[in-house]
């Protein structure tokens, strides 16, 4: 949950970059204007959430889905966002899939690597175990002898 009010702000650096990219080169945006746009963006999120939530409630669903958000955009009369939104959702999904494949591949590579490492260490372990066994064979005898002696005494 949001513990401080500033948790509900969007990061200024990112907002500033988006503004700069949207406007022609060299436009000076006052600090006040930047802060106002950032606050407007937070209000936009809340407004969109509340609209989307109304659609979800009408359909008796508890979870907001993509359709609810798109319907909310229409209701807010931001139809112009619909196409770019759908496109970037596709791009996002592809990106996630790509990421998954990459991590999957990394995981496999890692497994292979650790497997071969395990083989090596297993060999080493086996050697050590053999040595230990030899020692174990000797020691108990010595102890037993000692015990026996004690009993005799």
């Amino acid at each position: 949950m949001a513990e401080r009010p500033e948790d509900l702000n969007l990061p200024n650096a990112v907002i500033t970059r988006i503004i700069k990219e949207a406007l022609p080169d060299g436009v000076n945006v006052s600090k006040e204007a930047r802060r106002a746009i950032s606050q407007a963006a937070s209000v936009f999120v809340l407004y969109a959430t509340s609209c989307a939530n109304n659609f979800a409630m009408k359909a008796k669903r508890k979870t907001l889905n993509a359709g609810d958000v798109l319907s909310a955009m229409e209701e807010m009369e931001f139809e112009r966002f619909l196409e770019p939104l759908k496109e970037s959702l596709e791009v996002y999904k592809k990106g996630q899939k790509g990421k998954k494949e990459v991590t999957e591949q990394k995981r496999k590579d890692k497994e292979k690597k650790t497997d071969s490492e395990n083989d090596k260490s297993r060999e080493e372990e086996e050697e050590e175990e053999e040595e230990e066994e030899e020692r174990m064979d000797e020691e108990p005898q010595a102890e037993n002898e000692g015990e026996e002696e004690e009993v005799e005494n």
């Binding site: 948790d7 503004i19 970037s88």
Partner: protein, 116 residues
Amino acid sequence: MSQNKDDLASSNKKTISLPISRVRLIMKSSPDVSSINQDALVLTTKATELFVQHLAVASFNNGSGKETNSLSYSDLANTAEETETLHFLTDILPKKILARDYLTSLEDFQEEDADF
């Protein structure tokens, strides 16, 4: 360098630069919302980005800053007042003096929070 920037700008049209986790935090601060699926979250985040662009461009084109090559607070406030789809912003984009009220109310809110 400029080549690089162009590439970035064109890819930014479809990729997402705002932090999705922060947007979720804002969405979850609304008491009616119980859960949000990932696609809805991604869409809202991207919509917020488009909204920021839209608000900046509309206010710049509408405002007086074209000659001075600047975007000021009053450009934003006027645009919010004049544009029907941006009317929901008039509460947080009022004329300058009322913006101070917003700050004091924000401080009040912080103090209230501290009381608890």
